[in-house]
């Protein structure tokens, strides 16, 4: 079976779909998306769904502030309800040095047009009556941050991309590619040969392996992250919440479940199985900061895999070695970043111009020894 598509995207998670949608909007309608798993089966359907614009570095903040703005209007953009809820995002300090770090971020956030405030404990308690005021020292409050349920966002991107002409298949793994010199000419998926002009890797945790398959080095490695949901109760936690000192994040969904997770420093695991350590660490973080949650039961606990890079930042842009290969990988905040990644990468692919907000995340930055240092993310250090 032979077909022609101008662009093949490997990976149908929120990154791949966002790129497909944005390419179609720029007029590239014969996009083909291939995914080895089932719809929403990867990290796009397993993450904590939190969205914020403000981080500790100008690079991350510039990029994610753009993405947060796109989230706010995404339902209108897609013509589908992505159910983004700008409930506010609290990054809460429990240690003095964390509070000092947050204090320095407010001006950076405001420079990027975000509503960002440093809250004293009294104000945090007003916003979140369930919080133990003795367990926290202060917080950065990002008013436009929030969350969006993954099934709504994913369904929205899928439906909108298909409407604009993209062809998207799940359970259709790419098995090989054919190259001519430094260019990929054909993508092979089982019995189908797809001649194409450009290829995008958006394969989540599997991106380094897909890189190997196409003969392009993609730095980093897969790593397991775990999350859990509590049995539903009526609204008791209002904001999206990050607890950097506990490597924990959480929010209460529109159907009452409290969803979140805490990371445990461990040897990176390549598995979708969970472990007792993350369960205990998440529960301990909840119990410390929101003691009322101690009475609630855990509904389920799951793992997802993401693609860790040396600085936890994404790899976004053209591949340095393969002429017609583009990459959107290495994501740890990929759900929040997807609207901006799709927007900026699609523009770069079509026009060749690299936006200054995505330039710092270039695929070859580690070769050039220019990692992006970001200190306000909730991720455990790995070796």
């Amino acid at each position: 079976m032979q077909s022609n598509h101008s662009i093949v995207i490997i990976g149908g998670g929120i990154q791949g779909l966002s790129i497909a949608f944005n390419l179609a909007r720029l007029g590239v309608r014969d996009v083909r998306v291939l995914d080895a798993g089932y719809f929403q089966g990867g990290a796009s359907g397993r993450n904590g769904t939190l969205i914020r614009g403000g981080f500790g570095s100008p690079e991350w903040t510039g990029f994610f502030a753009h993405s947060n703005r796109l989230w706010a209007e995404l339902s209108a953009t897609l013509g589908e309800n992505v159910m983004f809820t700008p409930r506010g995002y609290l990054v809460i300090a429990q240690k003095a040095e964390t509070l000092a770090r947050l204090d320095g971020m407010r001006d950076l956030h405001r420079e990027h047009g975000l509503q960002s405030d440093l809250l004293a404990v009294r104000r945090i308690k007003e916003l979140e009556p369930a919080i133990d005021e003795h367990a926290v020292l202060g917080a950065i409050y990002l008013k436009g941050g929030g969350a969006a349920p993954h099934h709504a966002a994913m369904k929205g991107y899928l439906a909108a991309s298909r409407r604009l002409g993209a062809r998207i298949d799940y359970q259709r793994p790419v098995t090989a590619v054919e190259r001519s010199g430094d260019r990929i000419t054909t993508v092979i998926a089982g019995d189908e040969r797809i001649a194409c002009e450009k290829v995008v890797i958006a394969g989540g945790a599997y991106s380094p392996a897909i890189g190997k398959l196409v003969g392009a080095e993609i730095p980093g490695f897969p790593i397991r992250i775990e999350a859990m949901a509590l049995e539903p109760v009526r609204p008791v936690i209002r904001s999206a919440i990050a607890l950097p000192d506990r490597l924990c994040y959480m929010h209460q969904t529109a159907r009452g479940e409290i969803v979140g997770g805490a990371e445990v420093p461990e040897k990176p695991q390549v598995t979708l199985n969970t472990d007792i350590c993350a369960l205990a660490a998440t529960a301990a973080a909840y119990a410390e900061v929101f003691p009322a949650l101690g009475a609630l039961r855990i509904l389920r606990h799951w793992a997802g895999m993401l693609h860790a890079t040396a600085d936890w930042g994404p790899l976004l842009g053209q591949h340095p070695d393969v002429g017609n290969l583009w990459v959107s990988a290495g994501w740890s905040y990929g759900f929040a970043g997807a609207p901006a990644a799709g927007d900026l990468l699609a523009r770069a692919i079509v026009t060749g111009e690299v936006d200054s907000r995505m330039a710092p995340f270039a695929v070859d930055r580690f070769r050039r020894n220019q990692p992006v240092v970001e200190g306000a993310i909730v991720l455990a250090p790995v070796d």
């Binding site: 929403q40 709504a152 539903p232 205990a280 529960a283 949650l293 009475a295 389920r300 606990h301």
Partner: protein, 482 residues
């Protein structure tokens, strides 16, 4: 034979109520004629004690939501209330949501096209959804300890399941000098066997026994088990060289309209109620597979008024609005209770967790060599009868109001992957954790495809029990992987 002990007075939905002591709240309320304990989450249809669906026994006990009314023993002066009600559990207007046509609330609560995000009306709508969907009310002021220190047990053999098979396995190993732990959900081992009048073999005193503990999860390829008591006591991390799953079989509710009405229950639940006085069951219809005669005979000997015994394949519907009023075969048979005794199937949750593997999705694999299933758990499952078009009105997952028709419609629309069906309907994402919902869901898919389906969505631990406080108490008991 009435439950022993004097009666006590509890507060039910704001009113004092005299109940018999010594039983679970759910059983005591059933005996007092209060069958509806809870409601489905979207359409607020009545649910009660069934032995199948946990949603039916979720209630507010002394201000703590989502308490398991089938696990909490009645205490004088305790406050029990139906949750997810408004304005009060005594006078509940949310019951009217039942009149909303099922097709309007398909999918999760969030699958709405009416109020797009990015608008002001979405925020109001979301707040309303969160209120409607959120079940019980948790006070922001803690009503219970935030952390309950856990404990760690290491043993040579862990037996999960306290039936005769589990007891036999544990006793043999203890006799051979092995260090054995047995975990059972029941308040004592061999509960079902005793209810059936089978004389139990006593558990060897050298076996460490954990009663009223749910084995919630299995980690690290079957080397680490998490168990927790239903009363909120310390959770236990159990390291074991070998694990035996003696978890038995469970009767699945029939796939017909009315299968989740209060008054429909599995054989074990009916026997336990009958043992404390069978009058509360009223006229009983027993449906099931081969075991139905034995279960009916036992119910009869406990004093139950068994009106009809039929093969489950003959059942067309269960009648009733707030509770069971009849079972429909070729003619309707008036009754107050429908007891199902089959089809009997194993809960695959723990064996899945011990064997689950795969990078794109977890799938059940062969059990590792040190984990084995014994007794009826290891026997083949009985087939779920498909009663033709009557099945489409059946509930598959009552928590989320997922009917067989909703799943059949998704299949027709081309959504055929079990994981996608799970995500689109939320079936099996409530406290039962997929059992029995995914078994019923598989029956719908099998009927549409005309072929047996071994595939289920991946079972995720911890199933059925552990609280945040219990889980928090496990910190430091297990070393992270290095």
């Amino acid at each position: 034979m009435r439950a022993a002990g004097p009666g006590c007075v509890i507060n039910w939905n704001g009113e004092p109520l005299q109940v018999s002591a010594g039983e679970s709240v759910a059983a005591a309320l059933f005996r007092a004629g209060h069958l509806q304990l809870a409601a489905t989450r979207k359409r607020h249809r009545p649910l009660g004690l069934s032995g199948s669906f946990i949603q039916g026994v979720l209630g507010d006990v002394d201000g703590i939501p989502n308490a398991r009314l089938d696990q909490v023993t009645v205490r004088d002066g305790m406050h029990v209330a139906r949750q997810n009600t408004w304005p009060s559990s005594h006078f509940d207007l949310l019951k009217l949501l039942r009149l909303v046509p099922a097709r309007l609330v398909r999918g999760g609560f969030e699958h709405t096209r009416l109020m797009p995000s990015g608008t002001r009306r979405y925020l109001v709508w979301e707040r309303l959804l969160a209120f409607l969907a959120g079940e019980g009310t948790l006070s922001p002021v803690p009503a219970a300890p935030a952390v309950v220190a856990g404990r760690r047990i290491d043993c040579d053999l862990l037996v999960i399941g306290g039936g005769p098979e589990g007891i036999g396995t544990a006793n043999a190993a203890a006799h051979a000098g092995r260090d054995v732990v047995l975990v059972t959900r029941g308040s004592a081992p061999a509960r079902f066997a005793r209810l059936m009048g089978i004389t139990e073999t006593a558990l060897d005193s050298r076996v460490t026994l954990l009663t009223a503990h749910e084995a919630c999860a299995i980690y690290r390829q079957g080397h680490l088990v998490l168990a927790a008591p239903g009363d909120g006591g310390p959770a236990v991390a159990i390291g074991s060289n070998e694990i035996v799953l003696a978890t038995g079989k469970h009767s699945l509710p029939p796939l017909v309209r009315g299968n989740t009405l209060p008054g429909v229950m599995d054989a074990a639940t009916a026997l336990a109620l009958a043992a404390g006085g069978a009058a509360c069951l009223g006229r009983v219809v027993v449906v099931g597979t081969e075991t139905r005669e034995a279960i009916a005979a036992r119910l009869h000997s406990l004093g139950a008024a068994v009106a009809e015994i039929r093969a489950v394949a003959e059942l067309k519907a269960i009648k009733g609005w707030n509770r069971v009023t009849g079972a429909v075969f070729e003619h309707a048979v008036p009754c107050q209770t429908v007891v199902h005794a089959g089809p009997w199937r194993s809960d695959p949750n723990l064996s899945f967790q011990a064997s689950g593997d795969g990078l794109l999705r977890l799938s059940a694999d062969a059990l590792p060599a040190h984990v084995r299933m014994v007794g009826s758990a290891a026997a083949p499952d009985e087939r779920i009868h498909w009663p033709g078009k009557h099945a489409l009105d059946a509930d598959v997952c009552p928590c989320m109001d997922v009917s067989a028709r909703e799943i059949a419609d998704l299949l027709r629309a081309g959504v055929t992957h079990v994981e996608e069906i799970k995500r689109q309907t939320s079936a099996g994402m409530g406290p039962c954790q997929g059992f029995p919902c995914w078994e019923l869901m598989a029956a719908v898919i099998e009927n549409a495809a005309g072929a047996p389906l071994a595939d289920r969505p991946s079972h995720r631990g911890p199933r059925r029990a552990i609280t945040v406080a219990q889980a928090a108490g496990l910190s430091g008991l297990v070393d992270p992987l290095k």
